[in-house]
Symmetry: C2
Subunit: 213 residues, 2 copies
DNA sequence: ATAACACTGTTAATAAATTAACAAATAAAT
DNA sequence: ATTTATTTGTTAATTTATTAACAGTGTTAT
């Protein structure tokens, strides 16, 4: 387990995707997989697959490619933490619910253990196995349940306030699905994702492609 | 408007984000903005902002920075298409609804004009101003309404089938929020996004950061 | 046996993206 | 008037990411 400290960021992303692809293959009763098969599933090149796998120090066999279970385990050893990590969703609207149900059933070391909302109709209900609490209890529950990560799905107008509370209570990673970027200190890992950017990017390339004829 | 054919992909993404940041500033009654202000809003460096803006051929003024309205218009000229583009959402579950309501009110050239679902409880209803049709009507409506882009929010098990239909009916851009990657021909622009990957990546960096002490 | 094939693993080359460095310009301050 | 402080625009350097190239090797076919 050497050198793994400096895995490229993109490789980390792909490891997660490899694992999911591997699990699908496993379900199809496969035991081994070739780099080009994995590549096809992810729309990337076989070289990239081999290189990533090299970087994590795994070796396949020449004739059969990679042993699926072994590779899954190794990826887990790298990207999961043994104890597991807990996440919460802040904002139990459509997006919050979508995320919670999305995770439900997917067995990872990562679990969503709480949702928070301000709406009385939602608090004290359980959605897809995850209880929803009033946001006033957020700090208390994050601490008592030892939650390290938060997914923000509140309206943009609330984003700054929520992020601030999360940082204060000691959250270490934030995934912000709000349309409003937030600021956090350096020791908190922040990822912003905006659907509009994604769609506008697609729109741009659609337009561009259409102009090339 | 020269050379804009080869804008880096990352620059395209940022242009969309710049525009949103600029609109916020405009709402705050600002008329000009400095590269470092824009940078701070997006958590990037001022150099990157200046470089991107250079690439699209805009110039600010030395003392006041960039003229917000002008810049917004220029970005629009690059990433929007004049006629506008229409998108649909396939799958009217929580995620589909979240996306529809997310776009609602955001005024862009990009509009979501239809949703599709298989569930009779959902079809023929209007959510956030967007009508939901039965998926059997998808091809017909995409053609008649001249829809060019689709956002897939169906269950993973349906992904391949839906993508195939979309391609056949002539969709030019697909945003796949399904956990299952799909295959499309080269002339269709595809973007896959998986929330689990995002969260696992955050988990990895949280773990990594915590080990660095 | 040995040739042909189909893989992996890895280094080297290339391309893409980011950052550094600094000249040029202009307002404000002295 | 001249200096100082800022800010842009742009080239060059650096870093990061991807792709190409190919040696090494087990397997199969002849």
């Amino acid at each position: 387990m050497i050198m793994l400290n400096k895995l490229p960021e993109k490789t980390i992303e792909r490891l997660s995707q490899y694992r999911r692809a591997l699990l699908i293959s496993l379900n199809n009763l496969k035991h081994h997989i070739y780099s080009h098969e994995l590549a096809a599933m992810l729309h990337i090149t076989p070289v990239q697959v081999r290189r990533d796998i090299m970087l994590i120090g795994y070796s396949g066999t020449l004739r059969h490619g990679y042993e699926i279970k072994e590779l899954i385990n190794l990826i887990g050893a790298i990207i999961d933490s043994e104890e597991g990590q807990k996440a919460c969703v802040v904002g139990s609207g459509n997006l919050g619910k979508a995320i919670v149900s999305y995770f439900n059933g997917k067995r990872t070391k990562l679990t969503i253990v709480a949702a928070f909302d301000i709406n009385p109709d939602k608090v004290n209900r359980v959605y897809a196995g995850v209880p929803c609490y009033h946001i006033d209890q957020m700090s208390k529950i994050i601490k008592s349940d030892n939650i390290t990560m938060a997914i923000m799905t509140v309206p943009g107008s609330e984003a700054a306030r929520v992020a601030e509370s999360l940082v204060i209570v000691g959250i270490k990673g934030i995934l912000n699905y709000t349309p409003t970027p937030v600021n956090v200190p350096d020791n908190v890992y922040l990822q912003e994702y905006d659907m509009i950017t994604s769609l506008e990017k697609i729109a741009y390339f659609v337009k561009k492609n259409s102009q090339e004829f």
